[in-house]
């Protein structure tokens, strides 16, 4: 029996389950609405800003919120207990659960770029940045899910974190040098926003983007380490 087939089983189950989970569905709709509102309802919005907000919201709120809710719900309803009694290993459970969020972020990311229009030439860079930033975001969502006792508790633990990762990059996007920006620069979402800003609003080159990609990759490693520590201390089920 292969890990792949167990991960596939968890992925299929998550896909079936999410279709009727109104909390999560709503969260998928928000970045689309947000992009549409900024694009078509706010006068004088510079081209590319609507999709920047949408993509950042997508990475943070879908990337973090969905896995945290999925894990916390399984803990709350004790379904995780029986999943861990099966041949599925914890790492397969993590991958199976994270995969749906990961794929959803990519699909919705393409949709948001489509809504913005005239940006298809920038899609490869945007997509690469989105793929990379979604990984630490999903890890953080999993950490929140492990720390929370139930779905309600994910809000208390998660929202301050989500806001930090969402708002700080937006507040500092045009002011790279100030104090807040220096704090924000440890966040992968800050570098993601910088990439989007440079791609959509200026001439971008490999030289002015690679440092941000490296920073996101470094944050993937650090946050994965944090996920591992929390897993060792708390486990999936406690």
């Amino acid at each position: 029996m292969s890990s792949i087939s167990r991960i596939k089983a968890i992925f299929i189950k998550e896909t079936q389950d999410i279709k009727t989970n109104s909390n999560v569905i709503l969260m998928f709709i928000i970045p689309i609405l947000l992009t549409l509102i900024y694009k078509y309802m706010i006068q004088g919005m510079p081209e590319g800003l609507a999709v920047t907000f949408g993509l950042l919201f997508l990475a943070v709120m879908i990337g973090m919120y969905v896995p945290s809710m999925i894990i916390a719900e399984e803990k709350e309803k004790k379904t995780l207990q029986v999943l861990l009694l099966s041949p599925a290993k914890p790492v397969e459970v993590f991958i199976g659960k994270g995969l749906l969020t990961f794929i959803s972020i990519i699909v919705f990311g393409i949709l948001l770029v489509a809504i913005e229009g005239n940006m298809w030439d920038k899609l490869p860079v945007v997509l690469l940045a989105l793929i990379l930033v979604s990984i630490p975001c999903i890890f953080i969502g999993m950490i929140v899910g492990m720390l929370a006792q139930n779905q309600m508790a994910t809000g208390g633990i998660g929202f301050p974190i989500y806001m930090l990762f969402l708002m700080l990059p937006l507040l500092t996007v045009v002011n790279e040098g100030n104090f807040l920006a220096r704090i924000a620069s440890v966040l992968p979402t800050f570098h993601f926003t910088q990439i989007l800003y440079k791609v959509f609003f200026s001439e971008y080159t490999f030289e002015n983007l690679y440092i941000h990609f490296l920073a996101i990759i470094a944050s993937c490693i650090v946050i994965f380490g944090l996920l591992y520590v929390v897993y060792r201390k708390k486990g999936l089920e406690q």
Partner: protein
Amino acid sequence: MIQVEDLHKSYGDKAALQGITFDVNEGEIFGFLGPNGAGKTTTLKILTGQLLPSSGKATVMNENTYNNSRLSRHIGVVPENTNLYERLTVEQNLQFFCRLYECDTRNIDYFLEQVQMLDEKKTVVKKLSKGLKQRVLLIRALLHNPKVLFLDEPTSGLDPASADRIHKLIAHLNSQGVTVFLTSHNMEEVDKLCNRVAFIDKGKIVEMGKPADLKLKYARGNAKVLLFGPDDEIVEEYIDLQGIESARKLSKWIEEGRIKSIHSNEPTLADIFVEVTGRELS
């Protein structure tokens, strides 16, 4: 099939298990009885590999139980709480576990038919009654044809008809060679199903044996006789089962045609539990 030797488990200062020892033979239905908080679920969690004991040994099919992925393919667990995916249908729930265990999906229809739930296959789980959910839990534990089945209070909160269906299925599985470890505080259930039982109280096994043997061991040695009184009212009398005096009394009552019925007055498992521990089961 299951061996437990001097098993201890503590949560901080609180000792949940204080050196329990027992074994379960292949093909047996073994009842593990005790009030809430006695240590039943802790024992079951250790045996199913969810908890690491503080000390002692717990093996199932000669394998250590904790975190043993080899074992997960040979055991089925029905937990006390109804932990199904409520938004999915019965079929989707069962298909998920079939995929995880890579077992034949035809088992789903077979078992649903066994518990007369084939018509509910496409029903969303949250719309099912507790009795039906309990049957789905049992099927989920059976899909991969386990050799040992662990049942934690399988009929808790069910109506008698639903409980009876579960009992019949357990008996049927056992007749096909499945070893069953059953925790319960329902003495009638245990009496009906189990080959052997162990009583656990405050983390210690206080009595163990076949239900019939335990009843003989703790028999009161008397019989209850219901007699017609002078005004045809029913009078309760107890007579010893030994001695000439009892024989004379009984003979006299029979001659007078006063006997309505005679009861053996053997203790129930609940009575024995009270006698052994000094407290009620629930």
